[in-house]
Amino acid sequence: MTPRTLFDRIWSRHVVVQEPQSPAVLYVDLHLVHEVTSPQAFQDLCARGLKVRRPDKTFATIDHIVPTDRRGFPIADAQAAEQVRQIETNCRACGVQLFGLDDPRRGIVHVIGPELGLTQPGMTIVCGDSHTATHGAFGALAFGVGTSQVEHVLATQCLLQYKPKTMQVRVDGTLPRGVTAKDLVLALIAQIGIGGGTGSVIEYAGAAIRALSMEARLTICNMTIEAGARAGMIAPDDTTFEYLAGREFAPKGAAWDAALAHWKTLPTDDGATFDETVSLDASALEPMITFGTNPGMGMPIAGRIPDPATISDASQKHALTKALAYMNLQPGQALLGHPIDVAFIGSCTNGRLSDLRAAAAVLKSRHVSPRTRVLVVPGSQQVKRQAEQEGLHEIFRAAGAEWREPGCSLCIAMNGDSLEPGQYCISTSNRNFEGRQGKGGRTFLGSPLTAAASALAGAVADAREFSIADF
């Protein structure tokens, strides 16, 4: 038999119809829905007189516009309140399960899918959100779609898709102490560029990937979209199965045994080929930070900002010049020691329990700089409860950080959490685009360790300089 890839196995199992010279009709096993990209889809569905075909495969939550301050309820912003009202009404009318404002399972859509056991190996998963790539960490094919496609999936549980190309990213070696999954993926994007994965599904493989925890794998797959790729995937293994066992929506009993047997058949065969292969040596990596206005503009934390004058490609030169003007940074400048106004620890990239533990390990028995506002925003209600059981919230509060309610928060600045024009933020989120964290705001992307260390220093800092207990 020809050796096959994980992607190829999942793809071919989900093709319902493939007509010549047409995209495949691809079946969707799990459709996740949030308040921002779904209202127009439900409206159009109703206008056509259609129903949700598989409410049992559709789950919704509220994450983007939700205040992260308890005093933010009831929601004062009329448009945000209307989005909440619409998703509540739509889900009720269509029989879709909603993890709503008061639900203890509510959280960022890409945090709750995995933690509730909804996300499972071998599935096709879509959501009207580009970071749906996150779920690929379980060996699922998961990708973001637009609102029209949300409507298509609601109506037919299917999508029209062309088969993408495949790319393997091999990461061998061992991540050095103080270097995290976030640094790994930022280094990859700096290497292949923000268009480097366009048209492809990336499978991550190699010893360094196998050694990662489930949460760290989620961080890697989450950022895959920032390299322009359709999806990121990691073959399921014991780490995956141990994580899933016993979760609310994971199969139980005999169904678990059957699922497990199936999941074990999924990984890519030895000798399977990819359209492209990229290699990285984890041992050589350092903590990464971005200096520009796209996630590919990153460098090792002790590095110096490149000089546009040394770049030959005219469009890259222009992009860097423009980015440095927006960021008010100079070529050749080091970022270590650069003042920081806000530190944000959270988002679907780094808002899970292990991320909060890492940040807490740095902040423990220390105090953040008076010039830096620090927001710690758990990715979900469940993450919040777990962190509180471990006393992490006490560590954050004692350090002078704000311990907030779960949501997307400062990752996208739709809920009232926002930077002021000109402010610098060290952020554990995924995008440093102009204005992403608030109009005129300037973002440095980094790991939770880097964000916490920088919060202490009030300036960009290398967490490896601090003595940190194991976490």
Binding site: R9, R13, V16, V17, Q21, S22, P23, V25, Y27, V36, T37, P39, Q40, Q43, L50, R53, I65, D77, A80, Q83, Q86, G128, S130, T132, G144, V145, G146, T147, S148, Q149, E151, H152, A155, T156, Q157, C158, L159, L160, Y162, I194, G195, T198, G199, G228, A258, H262, N294, S315, H318, A319, K322, I412, A413, M414, R431, F433, E434, G435, R436, K439
Partner: protein, 201 residues
């Protein structure tokens, strides 16, 4: 969607590369629950200053942008978020086609669903087009979807790729949801087969 067969229209040039969807429609405008008035949000942070006044130096605020239906964009247009609002804002402003050297996957997909043609040209033609607009600010281009050509005022034609399905969608105004709904029986059959785990690839 409305069919698009041929189009002769003025082009506006926006040379910035890697224009992400946060620039096309900043996130604070995603709180809308319908598609009306989206043109006001297009490139809002580039078009308006802090006080909400139009910046005269931004190309979409200049008279030449009025009635232009083709956007000539820099490399890697539409990266970032999946928000279809970005496409709705472009079409609400009046654009029917965007030209670049490459588009982000989700953006290209969203564009097709809304009758916005994404035209990929090679780097040399891309440069020539920018030169053309610099020289003749109100230059018109002609797009022929069936022939997959973009014709410059001097008569030079540039071919562009378009997959056969998308081509049919544009020419006939095919609606993808209609296509999927027409295959409901196959979908039901698939569901019956997979329910028992009998379907093997």
């Amino acid at each position: 969607m409305n069919p698009l067969k041929t189009l002769t229209a003025r082009v506006v040039a926006l040379p910035n590369e890697n224009v992400d969807t946060d620039q096309i429609t900043p996130a604070r405008f995603l709180k809308v629950t319908d598609k009306a008035g989206m043109d006001n949000y297009l490139f809002a942070d580039w078009r308006y200053d802090a006080a909400g006044n139009a910046r005269p130096d931004f190309v979409l605020n200049q008279p030449r942008a009025q009635g232009a239906q083709i956007l000539l964009a820099g490399d890697n247009f539409g990266c970032g978020s999946s928000r279809e609002h970005a496409v709705w804002a472009l079409t609400a402003f009046g654009f029917r086609a965007v030209i670049s050297t490459s588009f982000a996957d989700i953006f290209r997909n969203n564009a097709l669903k809304n009758g916005l043609l994404t035209i990929v040209v090679d780097k040399a033609s891309h440069r020539d087009l920018f030169d053309l607009v610099a020289e003749i600010p109100d230059a018109q281009l002609t797009i022929d979807v069936a022939a997959q050509t973009l014709t410059l005022p001097d008569g030079r034609a540039v071919n562009f790729p378009l997959d056969p399905f998308a081509r049919t969608c544009f020419l006939e105004g095919v609606d993808e949801l209609g296509y999927l709904l027409a295959r409901r029986d196959a979908i039901s059959q698939y569901e019956r087969n997979t329910q028992h785990g009998t379907r093997e690839a």
